[in-house]
Amino acid sequence: MAVKTITGDQAVAYGAMLARAEVVPGFPITPQTVIIEQISEFINDGLMDADFIPAESEHSVMSVAVGASAGGVRTFTATSSQGLALMYEMLFAAAPTRLPVVMAVANRSLGAASGIWTEHNDSVPVRESGWLQVYVEDNQEALDMIIQAFRIAEDRRVMLPIMVCLDGFILSHVVEGVDIPEQAVVDRFLPRFAPVNVLDPRDPIMMNPVTPPEFATELRYQQDRAVEAARTVIGEADEEFAALTGRRYGGLFEAYRLEDAEFALIGLGTWAGIAREVVDQLRAEGKKAGLIKLRYMRPFPGQELRQATLNLKALGTFDRSAAFNGYGPVFTEVRNALYGSGITVTDHLAGIGGRDITAEMVRDMYGLVERSARGEKVRDCTWHALRGEME
């Protein structure tokens, strides 16, 4: 094991190299670009045995990835924002065709009011594409999750593509010390890709033919079962990875000081770092605060969350994507999972368009959740640190 001081994008590239990805189509978009640049360097320096395919658009990137994965080789790519939006159609080809492509998404805001800064409104809206989605908190987790992602995606019980989402700039461009696992360790954790179905003239099959209604429902049902199965596989992979590297991430989510907590927040991404610190401050003040770092949006850990929040009086959800006319996606998922449990759930939007999230903002969030835990009526959905009108 060697510690290297690298950016999140480089950590992802190391992950792809150690996972022995063989085909990597790519197209530049900030803040993901460094990933494909770094992989190109690995390949051209002879460190990584893979084909880098410079496609002419992200639609083609995902099309190449689908073709390569269908051809039976381990396939990796990366994108962000507009690039992910351009891939939209092909995301829906990879998942039902059960192609275990792994893609890093450096989260970035999307569309007009254009910005290149972090926001989750690129990846979160495509959570119904059939892809699994994991969100990481630091560069170490980014690297480790690329490796785990292949293991989960290629498990016979799953066979689904996965997005590994990392906050743009906050991780993609910030350097941290990262343990680079030994190749031998990774090889033990991640065996060679053994595809189930392959386009091979020696054993012809058809992939993704037009499917009439009498079969389409069953196909979707099987896909649904595979997403369900991923819940178990994710836990197993996390444990086995921990046994090899000492690093355990909690599987579907990580609960922090939750056992005796009366109120807590749940959210995705790097926000968990500052929230953990705020929880510690609140605990020092004698307040029973807790935190859930939600790692997976798909599979969404509904039952597990219900179990974990049994003793809470109130739960706040953190959403880093603009939500219009209502609630953010994390809120929608969480409240749906907790429906009928009697816990008050409120939504907290912050960090929109890449705005910094300060400890003070997170304290504000906890303040509101604490008030609702005490039975006070607070706003269902709050945009934090908004300049101008809200109250």
Partner: protein, 321 residues
């Protein structure tokens, strides 16, 4: 394997077999079938959204004997790139072929086509050109010829049919400096066989542009596809050539130029054409003829006789059945 130089050398075994759901007389199906037959069993086929996607394989049935994949409409160049990359890494030396329609090639698929051509990917790209988006019900594409009726270039009171001339896609692809580009017609079978054979042997990006008559789309009789293809070449509506490593070569030159009315009159999609429009089309064809064959086109076809009667096919594809 034996070199195919004529029809008799073509393997007997079909790779796109009977039982598919194409319209009787479909030129698209005949072309796809013949190309697949010549490429043989060591082939992987990708088909984007098109007639072929619908008539070739509908779960749980398939007319393909080779591995087959479909995903979307605009990505033939890219998916075939990925498949080939995977096969190469797995040391499988198989032919990867994409078979796309004109819409999936000239229009929505142009970007991926250009990307694959520019990268000189080792795949065969076949464009099955029936001159409109047929699978969605005969809408105009940039392959639709001047004057033709389609459902988005209807014959109205003011505007009658398509007002733009067909895009020269083979030239655009050839300008990417790829190893092999050829135009094909099922009515010229020896030429057809030779070109597919060549495409099979060459390495790098190969583009086969095939004119494929469509029964309802062209409003023709199902038995007339091949004769119409022959007339397309004789009138200059289609030119048979190839560009090998940048060197263009006409592979079949008609003895004389046939007036375009001979081609138009068999097809309901042209029956409304005014004399002025036919003249305009003929003038375009004469210029194209000279550009391709490098000499003066004989003048008579360029002066149009009145044609009120000759463009008389009523457009019923089932006429005479």
């Amino acid at each position: 394997m034996t070199r195919m130089t004529s029809m008799k050398d073509v393997p007997r075994e079909d790779m796109l077999t009977h039982g598919h759901g194409a319209c009787p007389g479909c030129g698209y199906a005949a072309t796809a079938k013949n190309i697949a037959k010549m490429l043989g069993p060591n082939t992987v086929v990708y088909v984007p959204a098109s007639c072929l996607v619908v008539f070739g394989a509908l779960y749980p049935y398939s007319s393909w004997k080779t591995p087959y994949m479909f995903t979307a409409f605009e990505n033939t160049g890219a998916v075939t790139t990925g498949i080939k990359a995977a096969l190469r890494r797995r040391h499988l030396d198989a032919t990867v072929v994409g078979m796309a329609g004109d819409g999936g090639t000239f229009d929505i698929g142009l970007q991926a086509l250009s990307g694959a051509a520019e990268r000189n990917e080792d795949v065969i790209y076949v464009c099955l050109d029936n001159e409109a988006f047929m699978n969605t019900g005969i809408q105009r594409s940039s392959a639709t010829p001047f004057g033709a009726w389609t459902t988005t270039t209807p014959v109205g009171l003011e505007v009658k049919g398509n007002r733009r001339f067909k895009k020269d896609i083979a030239r655009i692809v050839a300008d990417h400096d790829v190893p092999y580009v050829a135009t094909l017609s099922v009515a010229h079978f020896t030429d057809f066989v030779r070109k597919v054979q060549k495409a099979k042997e060459v390495r790098g990006f190969r583009f086969l542009h095939c004119l494929t008559p469509c029964i309802p789309g062209w409003r023709i009789e199902p038995s007339k596809g091949v004769s119409i293809n022959r007339l397309a070449v004789d009138t200059g509506m289609w030119t048979l050539y190839e560009v090998e490593n940048g060197v263009p070569k006409v592979t079949y030159k008609p003895k004389a130029m046939t007036p375009v009315t001979e081609y138009l009159k068999l097809q309901g999609r042209f029956k409304h054409m005014s004399e002025a429009d036919v003249r305009q089309l003929q003038a375009w064809l004469c210029a194209k003829w000279r550009a391709h064959y490098g000499e003066e086109a004989p003048s008579p076809p360029c002066v149009m006789p009145g044609h009120e009667e000759v463009l008389a096919h009523d457009g019923d594809p089932l006429y005479g059945i």
